[in-house]
Symmetry: none
Subunit: 197 residues, 4 copies
C-alpha cells in the first residue's frame, strides 16, 4: 500500500527556502508538461524531466494526489474567484451561466483542475478550503436563480459541480472542442431551468 502517507490533510508549505521554492516550481512545471502528454504522472520520470532528484519530488509532494492538487491549485483558485465574482452578481449576465462557462473553459485548459474537481476527497486542506468556497459561490448563484424563478429547485451546488465534470467529459469524448462547448453548456443551462408547468 504505497499511497498511505499523508493520511492527515496536508497544508501548503509556507516560508520555503528560495532554492526549495525554485525546485517546487520546476517540478510543478514538469508535471504540467507530463499531464499534457498521454502518460500518467510517474514520479521518477517527473524528477528526470524536472532535473531534480526523486527524493526532492517526494519531499515536496509525498503523494501523487498531493501533486495533482498542487497542480490544479492555481486553476482552482481562478475558478473560485470567477465564481465568487459571478455570484456577487455584478448584474451583467446570469450568474449560473457565467459559472458554467468559466468552469468548463478552465477545465479544458487545465486537466489538473478537471481531476481535482472530480475527486471525492481532497488531500490538502487548501484544496478542501477552495472547494468549500466554490460550493458557497455556487450555492449563492443557485439561490439567486431560484429566487428569480430561473433555476429549478431540486439542484444543489454539488450537482452543479458534478454537471461541470460531466460537461468536460462530454467535450473530451469527441473531436472538436470549441463549437460543442458552447452548445453543451447551453443544453445544461436550459436543462437547469424550472420545468415548464
Amino acid at each position: 500500500m504505497p499511497e498511505d502517507r499523508a493520511a492527515a490533510p496536508l497544508a501548503r508549505p509556507t516560508h520555503l527556502r528560495p532554492d526549495a521554492l525554485a525546485n517546487r516550481w520546476r517540478v510543478l512545471a514538469a508535471a504540467a508538461r507530463q499531464l499534457d502528454g498521454p502518460e500518467g504522472l510517474a514520479m521518477n520520470a517527473l524528477a528526470r524531466e524536472a532535473g531534480v532528484g526523486v527524493g526532492t519530488v517526494y519531499r515536496h509532494f509525498p503523494t501523487r494526489q498531493v501533486l495533482l492538487e498542487a497542480l490544479g491549485a492555481e486553476g482552482l483558485e481562478g475558478l473560485v474567484a470567477a465564481a465568487e465574482r459571478a455570484a456577487d452578481g455584478d448584474g451583467g449576465e446570469d450568474a449560473l451561466a457565467q459559472l458554467l462557462r468559466a468552469g468548463l473553459r478552465r477545465q479544458l485548459a487545465d486537466p489538473a483542475l478537471a481531476t481535482v474537481l472530480a475527486e471525492p476527497t481532497a488531500a490538502c486542506t487548501d484544496t478542501a478550503a477552495q472547494l468549500e468556497r466554490l460550493r458557497g459561490a455556487l450555492e449563492a448563484a443557485l439561490a439567486h436563480g431560484r429566487a428569480t424563478g430561473r433555476v429549478r429547485e431540486d439542484v444543489d451546488a454539488d450537482d452543479v459541480r458534478r454537471l461541470l465534470c460531466g460537461l468536460a467529459r462530454a467535450v473530451d469524448a469527441g473531436p472538436g472542442r470549441a463549437s460543442p462547448s458552447a452548445r453543451y453548456v447551453d443544453v445544461v443551462l436550459q436543462g437547469l431551468r424550472p420545468p415548464a408547468p
Copy 2:
C-alpha cells in the same frame, strides 16, 4: 511503443475450438472482475486470475483495447438493441428519453461500456459496426424529435453520445448514484428541447 499492433481493425473470431472458446470466456470473466476492482487491466495478473497462460490472453486479445471492447461488446449490443427499439417508436414514451435513460443505466452497470462509448476510435470492426448502428438509432430518434418540435436542431447523434458520456461522469463524480441519475437525465432532456422562442 507497446501498443502498435493491430492497427488494422480486428474482426471477431469465428469458429473457435471449444477449449479456446472456454479460455476466451475465462479471460473475459476475469477481466470483468478486475475492472470492478481499482487496478488497471494487467495482462499478467489477468492470466493468473483466469488460470490461463499469458500467451493465451495475447492470442485472444492482442491489445488491451481489443480486450476492453470485447468486454464492453455485450453491453454495447444491449444498448444498441434498446436504442433501436426506442427509435422504432413503439410509441410508448419519448424515444430520446428512453435512450438517455438506458444509456446511462447501462454505463453505470458496465464500466467497459462507458469506456468504449467514450473512446475516439474502435479497434474491432465489430465495435465500429455497433457504434454505427447506435448512431443510426440516435439519429432516427433525433429526427423524430425534431419533426415533432421536441428536440433542438443543433444537436446530432454524436452530441447525444458525448452527452451520455458526460452524464455517466457526472454521476460518478460524486456520492450517490441512484437519485442523481434521474435528475441529471432530466436536466439534459429538458436542455435538449428547442429553446423557447
Copy 3:
C-alpha cells in the same frame, strides 16, 4: 507490505524445464556467494550477479525467505540424514554428541542452514518436512540418552535445536572457529547430562 506473497507454503518445483533448472541453479549459486559477503540478499544484485533478469529470480523464489530455505535445503537434508544415522544408533559414539558436532559443523559451513535452523516458521513445505524429520531424530537420540541415564529429563528436541543455534552463535561471536567449537560442544554436552544427585 511486500512480503505477503507465498502465504501458502510453497512446495519445491518438480519437472522444471531444463533451461529453467539451469537458471534456478545460477541464482542459488550467486545467492550462496552473496551470503558469504557482508551484504544482505538483494534480489536485484542477485539477478545481476547471476546473469539473469530480476523477474526470473522472483519467479523461482517469490520471497527472500523462500530463497533462503532453498539455499539451506541441501545443508538441511545433509544434517537430517546425519541425525537419523546417529539416532539409528550405529553404536559407535554417543548419538547426541554426534548430532551436536554435526549440527555445529554444518551450520558453520553453511550460513543458510544456520538461518533456516533458527527461523520460527518455514515458508516451504519441504523445509517444514525436513525440520520435522530432524525433530524426530533428535527426539530419538534424546530418548535413548535418557534411557541410559546420560541425558537430563527436562530437555526436548526443540531445546537441542535452539542450543545448536546458540552454539553457532557462540562460535561466530569471536575470533577463531576451530578450537572453540569442540570445547563449546563439549560444554553443552556435559551440561546436558543429568545433574549429579
Copy 4:
C-alpha cells in the same frame, strides 16, 4: 563505502550544551523504540521519529555502530557492575552462575546490549573500556571457580562472553523465553564444571 568514518575509536562527548544533551536523549530514546520494532536503524526514520534534523543525528552519532554502542552503553555498564559485584564474591552464590544469569537476562531485555556484546571490535573507547572491565570480572570469577575446582581449566573470559551470546541466541531461536532461559543457563553452568575424572 559509507561506513568508513570514525575508524579511530570515539570518546564519549563531555560538556554538551543542555539543548544538545536533550537532543542526544531524544535520538537515543527513538532509537530504542525502533530497535524494538522489526526494522533496522534508519538514520532518516530515526531523525523523523525523534523530531530532530538528520544532521543532528549525525553530529551525535557519526556511525550506526556508534549509535548502537551508545544505545547499549547503559545496559553494558549495568552488566559490568553486576559482574564486578559477583566477582567480588559477596559469597552468596556461585559468581559464575550470577554472571551468566545476569548476562542473559540483560541481553534479553536490551537488544542493543546483545549486539554490542557480540561485536568483534568496539567503535567507542568507552565501550572498549567497559568490555575490558567485563573481561576482568569474568576472569576473576573464573579464577575463583578454578581454584575451588568448580570450573574447568580450558575456558577463559572470552569464552564466557561468547557463550553468553550463544545463550541469548538459543533463547531467541524459539517460542517462550522465560522457562527455557533458566534451563539453558543451567546446562551451560553444568557444562562449565570440570569434567568428571
